[in-house]
Each structure stands twice: as C-alpha cells, then as structure tokens.
C-alpha cells in the first residue's frame, strides 16, 4: 500500500531538549492514524515537521511520496492542515476566510466559488457565510478551521489536537466530520491526547512517549496485546488501594491507578481476589506505556 506519510528515525532537537527522538511513523493511504501521547510527547513537533515548519536534524521524511524538506512545498499543496491554535482571520467573514485559503492553496479561478460552497456545506455554515469570525461560537469557529483546510480537496489532512477545549457536543460534530473525510478516502493523521477520540476515529493508533513511538497498531490489538483484554478494578480507601497495589506488584501483575481505584491488568480471568471485571480499554494501554507520572 502507498504510504501517505513515512517517517524513519526522525530526530528533532531544540537546544538540550530532544522533542522527537528517533520516530518511525507510517500513515497508509486512505487510513486514519491517531497520534496519541501525553503533553510534551512530541506530537506538535511531529506535525510541524510534516509541513517543514520545523526541519528534522536526522532521519527521513516523506509526505505523499515527496521528500521533506526539499519537496515540502509540493506536498503542502496536497495537504490540509488544521492547527491546534485557531488562526482564522477574525475580522473577516466565514466566506472571506475560505476565499483567502482558496487563493493560498491555488484553487483555479473557475473552481473557487464551488470550492467555497462545498466547504461551507462540510462545515454546515451556509447560514453564517457572511458572519465575521468574531461573531461565531467556539464550535463554529472550529468547524470553519477544519473546513478551511479542505478547500483544495487535500489527499492528506493533518489535524493537531482538533477537539482540544471543546464541549462534548461540539467534539462529536467534529468527529462526524473527520469520519466523513475518512470515508471519502482522505488520509488523516490526527494528534490527540483524548483517548476516546483515537479509539473512535483511528484505524491505527501510534502511542508516543518522549518523542518516540512506543506502540503501534489498531486500538483493539493494542488493548489485547498490552492488557490481555480484561482488567479488574478494585475500589477502596487509599490504604487498601496501596495494599492491593503492593500485592499485585509481588505477584507480578501490572497495575495502574485510576484516581479512586486500582486497575489490575493482564489478569486474564485468573485473578482470585475481589474487584469488578471490565474490558480493558485504550486508556489502560496508554497509561501503561506512557507512565503514570506526569512530567
């Protein structure tokens, strides 16, 4: 299968900090890959590397078959980018924002109006086309931000934390939008630290930690492989939780804290003690692989 994105051994340093540390990453054409990792794992730097707004110190990068950074401009012409921070032109109308991007992405003159209409429809903003961005709600702004990246029918869309800071309703609207893109065969790389988002949308999840891919695979496989598919959750007062944790450690069972409870992983039904059985989820994998400590 053709790869929409192919990174091999990519390293990016900022002074003493190594933001990306030997990253391998593949996005097969037509699939959605979720880049999952805690803050500071190197997700945003990876996104910037893909548009050559950051230049890698080591490694090989190819986007849509073009080598970066040398051929990045051609690659960018076929990519859509949804940034983490809203950078819409706030004093312009919805339509004007799309028009500007139709120019920046070289949509031919005779197709411009149709492209704007199509993207307005994608964002469901036809009614608000003449509204200034300032007047839009947070959800509308974010929909416009996504739609703006689609005016030129990109083959690959890069989404950097597309739903960060949005309420659940708005998040679901965006998920529907992203899912629709995938159905159309657009390749997607989406960074997120919302586990549910990756689990729902991504064909493949890449878990990043300290600038590296620590696990790659479809969500279900990752769960089976790293947690055994089932988890046991034990509730109780802190002293009891500490005991359970200690016991588990002695018998070689992996655990994670879930705030008010302890989750025992990889128990595979042979755990004799108390606790609620539940299917393991991607969050268990995530915490297991990226560590419990928050840097």
């Amino acid at each position: 299968m053709e790869q929409a994105i192919e990174l091999r051994g990519v390293v990016k340093r900022y002074g003493p900090i190594t933001a990306v540390d030997g990253l391998d990453l593949s996005v097969p054409e037509g699939t959605c890959v979720g880049l999952l990792g805690p803050n500071g794992a190197g997700k945003s730097t990876t996104m910037r590397l893909l548009t050559a707004q950051a230049i890698a110190d080591e490694g090989e990068l190819a986007v849509l078959g073009y080598r970066l950074p040398g051929e990045s401009k051609v690659a960018r012409a076929e990519c859509g980018v949804v940034p983490q921070n809203d950078n819409l032109d706030t004093s312009l109308t919805v339509e004007q924002n799309l028009l500007v991007f139709a120019y920046l992405y070289r949509v031919p003159r005779r197709e411009r109006q149709a492209a704007i209409e199509r993207t307005l429809e994608i964002a469901n903003l036809q009614e608000r086309r003449t509204a200034k961005v300032d007047e839009l709600s947070g959800g509308m702004r974010r929909r416009l931000l996504v739609a703006r990246a689609l005016v030129h029918r990109p083959r690959l869309v890069l989404l950097d934390e597309p739903t960060v800071g949005l309420d659940p309703q708005v998040r679901q609207q965006l998920w529907a939008l992203i899912d629709a893109l995938r159905t159309e065969g657009v390749s997607i790389l989406m960074s997120t630290h919302y586990i549910e988002e990756a689990e729902r949308l991504a064909d493949t999840v890449v878990i990043m930690s300290h600038g590296r891919a620590v696990a790659t695979g479809p969500p279900r496989e990752l769960i089976r492989e790293h947690t055994g598919g089932e988890a046991v959750e034990v509730y109780g007062p802190p002293t009891k939780l500490a005991e359970v944790e200690e016991d588990a450690r002695r018998s070689g069972i992996q655990t994670r804290r879930t705030g008010t409870s302890i989750t025992l992983l990889n128990v595979n039904g042979d755990h004799p003690g108390e606790g609620e059985r539940r299917p393991a989820n991607l969050e268990d994998v995530f915490v297991l692989l990226t560590g419990e400590e928050i840097a």
Binding site: Q53, P83, D89, Y103
Partner: protein, 271 residues
C-alpha cells in the same frame, strides 16, 4: 498495440515548485487585500491626516518665518519633502507591528506557511502589499500641497513609483525589526534611535546643505534623503545625473532589506 501502451511512461510529477511563484505571492496579497477591506478607513484616515498636519504646521509655522528654502517656496519644499515622511510612516510601522502581531499573536504565518508558500514568498508578498499602499498614501502630502499652492506638473506621475520603491525597502526594514526583536516593547528603541533621526535628517523640513559636513555625508546613507531628492527633482523637473545615484540608493536599500527580512523571518518561523 504500440510499445508506448505496454510500458507507459511514469506520470510526470513536478517534484519541486519554484521560488517566488506568482500564485504564492497572489495568495499572500489576496489575504491582505481582503483584510484591507475591513480596516481601510482607519488606515486611510491616518495616512492622509498625519502628513496634512505636518504640512500645515510646518508650512504655515515656518512658512511665515522663511519664504524661500533652497530656491523653493517653503510650502513647495515641505509639500514635496513630507512625501517621504508619509511613505516612511505607512511602510515601516505596518512592517514592524503587523508582522509581529501576525506571527506572535494571530499565528497567521503558521497557517500561510502550511500552505504551498515559502518564507521568501511570504515576506515578498507582505512587503509588496505594504509598498503598494505606500505608493498610494505617499502622494497625499503632495496632493494636499497642490491645494496650498504647489503647481501640478507631469513629473508628479513618477512620484508613486518612487514611493513604491522606497516603501518596499522600509517595509522590509520593518519586517526585519519584527523578526529580530524578541518583544514589541523593544520597537521603541528602533523608533527613537533609528527612525526619528532618519526622518528628521532627510531634507524634509530643512535642506541638509545647512548641516555640518559629516551630517551631509551621513545623509547619503539615509534612503529617505534619496527619496526626498527624487520626489523634488521629479515634481520640479530638475532631473540630473544625481538622480541615478538617488534611484540606486533606494533600490540598494530595498534589495538589501529584502534579503535581511527573509533571513530574519526564516529564522523566526522555521525552526
């Protein structure tokens, strides 16, 4: 069946887009033009009113004390000189402040550079846009001076071009400042230490021939001085070989600052 059909040539894909492409520049310019439609009133107001105030204040203030300066009536002298002031104000400040705001606060440049636009095209497009505005707004003092007695001449038709070239250099100067300064507060150093002296010692309000010799020599590296000279020579039809030098002065300045601005913004935006 021909051999060509058996083994078709691989589709010719352009691997690399060129530098300074027209569509990229057009994209950057279009963004500015569309944005301009939302704020042109304020900009036009200040670009028109400011030089008019200078003209009135100096023209009538000094004009009542001195009737002739360097062989011109004072209103003619100031009316042509403040063209350079208008160009300076309408190019260096947008270059400094809008650039800084666009990359630091609005993150506009992140969005533009994610599109098929390079830093070189971004800087060039932005500078061209500011220069176009300077090419228009630069004429306002001259037009106001016509109302106060400056005689219209054919040479005035060259003035927008002079304003454009000078404005391009100052826009790039402003962009460079924005690129190399860490915070917007530092801009005041540049405004007080560089822009104000250059603006005063350009032969705008008084001829530099009255200054000490070292200052006259120093004026030659002031692009505004060359702009002022070109404007006067154009308006009064006093063309001489000196103007080739003046023209060279503003072109060199523009070219130099253009490259500096690109290097600076490249450092700032691509990391």
């Amino acid at each position: 069946m021909t051999t060509a059909e058996v083994s078709p040539a691989p589709p010719a894909r352009r691997r690399r887009l060129g530098r300074l492409e027209r569509p990229a520049l057009a994209g950057v310019l279009m963004r500015e033009i569309v944005n301009f439609s939302s704020y042109w009133r304020g900009t036009t107001f200040s670009a028109t009113v400011e030089p008019t105030i200078y003209l009135l204040a100096f023209g009538f203030g000094f004009g009542s004390l001195v009737s002739q300066v360097g062989g011109f009536r004072y209103v003619e002298f100031v009316g042509t000189g403040t063209v350079a002031t208008a160009v300076l104000f309408s190019s260096v400040f947008p270059g400094m402040f809008s650039t800084f705001v666009k990359y630091e606060f609005q993150r506009t440049y992140d969005a533009i550079l994610a599109a098929p636009v390079d830093t070189e095209e971004l800087v060039t497009g932005e500078a061209l846009w500011i220069a176009m505005r300077a090419g228009v707004y630069g004429n306002t003092p001259m037009l106001v001076a016509i109302v106060f007695g400056l005689d219209p001449s054919w040479g005035m038709l060259v003035v927008p071009l002079v304003c454009f070239v000078t404005g391009y250099g100052w826009a790039c100067f402003g962009i460079s400042i924005a690129a190399f300064m860490k915070s917007i507060e530092n801009f005041s150093y540049v405004t007080s230490a560089v822009i104000t002296p250059l603006f005063l010692v350009a032969g705008t309000f008084f001829p530099i021939s009255r200054l000490p010799e070292w200052a006259q020599i120093a004026a030659n590296v002031n692009p505004l001085y060359h702009c002022v000279q070109l404007v006067r020579d154009a308006v009064f039809g006093l063309w001489s070989w000196d103007d080739v030098g003046h023209e060279g002065g503003i072109l060199m300045f523009g070219l130099l600052m253009w490259r500096v601005a690109i290097v600076g913004m490249q450092r700032k935006l691509i990391n």
